[in-house]
Symmetry: C3
Subunit: 203 residues, 3 copies
């Protein structure tokens, strides 16, 4: 139940990040809704299509779409002046959503009989997929492929979550451990601007 509320929170936060980008690109209101939607539910949609978990989650539970629509409405009215928010507000909210999305992806993949490695991958896909599609539509090189330990946080959170389950830890404890891992690493990365050494070819 708490997971469900956090899931909706993550959906709203991811949608808001789509709205922000749409605003920078001067899209019309329905472009805004489209960009918010792919950001919020794109990753989970690819996960469900790959698992064969169709119809995908937002078809069977329309709360996701309502959360996105309401977020778009509120965002377009409220955040005309994004500088009034403290700078860390959106990254921190995004980190919470990310951590929850990873945990949900891991759990769903295991429920559909995936191996541990695939479960970790599905967690990463659920967390990062929407942002990748958002950036592709906005014609930017996906942020998550380059930024401070973003996918890395998801991978480590997913590994903790999956390993705990394999070690017969209680499911709720394993989920919380995974979420806390992802969240902690991501918050540390935001606070201290951590990043991995990049792999660069001399050309």
């Amino acid at each position: 139940m708490l997971i469900y509320i956090l899931d909706m929170f993550g959906t709203a936060v991811f949608a808001a990040s789509g709205v922000l980008l749409a605003g920078r690109l001067r899209m019309d209101p329905f472009g805004v809704v489209v960009l918010a939607s792919v950001t919020a539910i794109g990753g989970g949609t690819i996960r469900d299509m790959a698992l064969g978990a169709t119809p995908v989650f937002w078809i069977t539970d329309t709360n996701y779409l309502w959360v996105i629509f309401v977020t778009c409405l509120i965002s377009m009215i409220a955040i005309r002046k994004p500088k009034q928010m403290p700078w860390y507000f959106l990254p921190v909210a995004d980190a919470i959503g990310l951590a929850v999305f990873v945990a949900i992806g891991v759990e769903k993949a295991l429920r559909f009989g995936a191996t541990p490695m695939v479960a970790v991958l599905m967690g990463v896909m659920t967390g990062c997929g929407g942002g990748v599609i958002r950036d592709v539509l906005a014609r930017e090189i996906p942020m998550v492929l380059r930024t401070e330990v973003y996918a890395t946080a998801c991978i480590l959170g997913g590994i903790v979550h999956t390993t705990a389950l394999m070690a017969n830890v209680d499911a709720t404890v394993a989920t919380v451990a995974g979420i806390v891992t992802t969240l902690t690493i991501r918050l540390a990365a935001i606070r201290w601007h951590l990043s991995l050494p990049t792999f660069a070819l001399r050309s």
Copy 2:
């Protein structure tokens, strides 16, 4: 039956718009076919994958692929000088295809047990999805996210169609009402260059 003919017409028109863009990008003949195909069947493919309606529609009915191939052949021969067509020819044909695609998407979603809101979304996805993929492949910010009431026309047409069905209107009448709504709004937008106020963030 009429719907089926209009569906093929829409497929041909959407394929032609892919050919035009491929021509501007100086692609080779098979690049042309690929871009025409994703434009014509991309939206419906994502819809079917999300609904779990697999194998997707063009696997079970190969007429779609034949229509696309023939369209590519004719287009590459005939439209070397696109300026000889009246300027409104392609937009109007595109509007007809769009209206039919939305209606087909709505109907298919409801047949697979989707709620009304999801049905409208699937209509929009069927109509606009192919164009979005075409623009992403051609490295442009998707036209439908920015242009004169394009997605908006689809949403309103989908709402009319779905609402009519919910009110127990005869299915054929509901379909026609939806198509006419999408088409009228889109044609009006083309004729008078209507557009919604954009949502722009000061950055």
Copy 3:
């Protein structure tokens, strides 16, 4: 069995081409893994989703993911100085992977009841799909839509393969014929820089 080994070889080669592009874009190690993965398994994933062959192949057989991870590790260590390889090394390896992927796509599509034309298309999608997604993520116009008879080689190989099966040729012979066709055409294109006349619109 030989096909399986060649499949893994193709997966490794495609992953390496993703690593190379990631290196040029200065991605962090996990961005590298993501780009390598979509290049290696992206085409087959879309094929399986469209066919309804879910869960998709790399969920049920995790060897693909292991091959990708190991390839990323080795590549990042070994190919810091790509100029030390002979220039034709990667294109030739890529051609072998491409030819095998096309054959696998054709076979899988027919096994799922596709018509011959759809089977050819699925072969092309398996071979070229991953590279298209890689280029879209890296914000380039997909190479396969423009380059020297790349998709063309896949189409002809797929047609030979499918036609042979329709003519009741032994399945193994048909597969080999298809692979040899794709490979020969592609190698010839690399050697003599063959390309089709492009279709260009005066604008």
